[in-house]
Amino acid sequence: MRSVALRFEVAALPTPLQSSISPDFVRHFSLFAAKRLAFVPAAVLIVITLSFFIVNLVPSDAAREKAGGLASDADVAAVKHQLGLDQDIWHRYADFMSNLLTHGSLGRSYYSDRPVWQDVWLFLPSTIELIVLSLIIATVVGVGAGTIGAHFKNRFPDFVVRAFVTITQAIPDFFLGLLLIFLIFYKAGWLPAPTGQNGLLEFPEHPITHAVLFDSIVNGQWRLARSAFSHAVLPALTLGIFYSAYFAKTARSVIGTAFDSYQVEFARSLGLPDRQVLGYAFRQARTPIITYGSILFAALIGGAAIVETVFAWGGYGQFAIERILHLDIPEVQGFIMVAGLFTLIIFLVLDLLVIFLDPRVSIG
């Protein structure tokens, strides 16, 4: 009889998962998510407008750039008319916006005449692939080093970590890339030459996203995948090591603070195992580290451009730099808008994630 009663009690106990996602929570959460989502179009509109005016008001002569150095003034005027650059800026803005809103079109490249969206889909996935790989390295190395530094604060391992942070922050990322190419490809010969995402004589078939490593894995082309992986190591390592310094710095300070906190002291005073105490400290430090990672993720869409160029990665950042140098206005506008949109989405996801991770953040 008693055991029956006991079993009833067990069944009545809510498991943590059930009660944390209560109907109430779901309702509040969806309301919050909807509000945040509703904000996105307005923000995108602002980003688009700003990008349009920044690009178009900066003194430049796209028509002369396109017509070439030897073109006569009449030729330039013809190109100008053909590109619509002879119209006043409000007219162009109205044109641009109506095209975007009715056809979803960002216009066509002044040079290739390809739709801007097509180039976005062609180049953006490769950059995202590189960013993801880099951030995995940066997080693992950085948080690991930061934890070691915090644990051995002001002792020898901490000095090593701090030296690592200072040195990697002082070296520009493209130089770090060249150094790795020199040492690991040229001297040691462990990894292939910086020819982009695959070897010069490999021609990826059936591209889905044009991010070669991702595509080859999805397609099950294992030989290509191996090659793509070995081509990805050096650029990812370059960005990974470079940005791990920032992670290490953040992690060292937030985990250090967590180690000194009352919370960790109380946990230790109760005789919790070291592993669990470390877990308490990590959970405390989690939100700042995730926030940091998200900001970096968004910033690297353009921020990886130079490293992409060094490794001929063929990503969106590299493409954008090339377009900027040619004053290919629609492509540049497209790039700014996509980067802005991407940032907005990342921050939205971050906000929602933090709510899930921290019960103290109330939704209202």
Binding site: L13, F266, S269, G271, L272, P359
Partner: protein, 330 residues
């Protein structure tokens, strides 16, 4: 088990805890000795920076670099704590000696349910099932006077009021029935009524179950009301020790007298102590209190007075009280 009068539950002998900072070595605790018997409630008082919290942490083995216990012997129930391995010491914390920290919200984990925090502690030391953990936590919360403990267990720390949070922290610290509880300013920051309620409850609980407590505080009123014995620290040393009934009525050390005089009382002028606490890096010669003492005479600046016994269980470190006790003895 040795728990008779001659063998205290906790015995600290000649403890030195130092902090190695870039400005020099800070002698936070400078050769103190004391004991706590089974079931005894001992108050450890002194002003900020006198080494009372460091003493508490030294006993718990929670002194973190750059701090370190340089010398001394700490025995709990006949076990030499400094000879324990990390693992052995960890097993003792929470089960034998446990700790109630100053800031309850800071001490509780903000993202784990209270239930889970109890369970982590219980499971760190026992093989209790989930249900057993729940029952133990529930019983303990009821003991510390929490109504509707189920709701508290399912909630988070930020949903608790200050008084509730402190009760929960105490319940977690007491859940495995430790024989010695070290509390560091457990009720600072709570308003006086709640402070009173919590202390009434927890002290009664400790007395009933014959658990010992080292209560670190600067609140002399709390010590006077709840403790059996009081230890007064000044600049890393014990200056006076004895039963509360004697020390508060007839303090032997000028510092204790000054502390008691500094308690605000209606109708009395508030007395404040002149001068400042000596540097713990450049330790002064002679008595650490001599330049603030109204009774200082020649030997005070030259020779450090040793802690000597005035009567049974009553000690004071002052040239004057030494003289008095020697005179008494003649």
């Amino acid at each position: 088990m040795a728990n008779d009068v001659t063998q205290p539950l906790l015995e600290v002998k000649d403890l030195h805890t130092r902090f190695h900072t870039h400005r020099g070595i800070v002698q936070a605790v400078n050769g103190i000795s004391f004991g706590i018997r089974e079931g005894e409630l001992v108050g450890l008082v002194g002003e900020t920076g006198c080494g009372k919290s460091v003493t508490a942490r030294s006993v718990l083995g929670l002194v973190r670099p750059p701090g370190r216990i340089a010398e001394g012997r700490i025995t709990y129930d006949g076990i030499d704590l400094r000879s324990l391995s990390r693992r052995e010491f960890r097993k003792l914390r929470g089960t034998g000696i446990s700790f109630v920290p100053q800031n309850p919200w800071g001490a509780l984990n903000p993202i784990l349910r209270i239930e889970r925090q109890f369970r982590n502690v219980i499971r760190a030391h026992t093989d209790a099932s989930r249900q057993e953990c729940w029952d133990m936590s529930l019983a303990m919360l009821q003991k510390v006077g929490i109504q509707g403990p189920e709701r508290i267990l399912k909630g988070y720390a930020h949903q608790l009021s200050g008084g509730m949070a402190q009760r929960v922290v105490m319940a977690i610290a007491l859940v495995l029935n430790p024989r010695l509880v070290i509390a560091d300013e457990p009720t600072t920051g709570l308003d006086v009524t709640i402070q009173r309620q919590i202390l009434d409850m927890v002290m009664q609980l400790l007395e009933e179950e014959r658990r010992a407590m080292l209560l670190v505080t600067h609140d002399l009123g709390v010590v006077a009301q709840y403790c059996h014995r009081v230890i007064v620290m000044y600049a890393g040393k014990i200056v006076e020790e004895g039963p509360v009934s004697e020390v508060f009525v007839e303090p032997a050390h000028p510092y204790t007298q000054a502390l008691l005089a500094a308690i605000p009382r209606p109708g009395h002028k508030l007395v404040s102590l002149r001068g400042r606490v000596p540097s713990l890096i450049d330790y002064p010669a002679g008595c650490p209190f001599h330049d603030r003492c109204d009774f200082a005479f020649e030997p005070c600046s030259a020779e450090e007075p040793l802690l000597c016994e005035l009567s049974t269980g009553r000690r004071s470190a002052c040239h004057l009280s030494k003289g008095v006790s020697e005179l008494d003895a003649r």
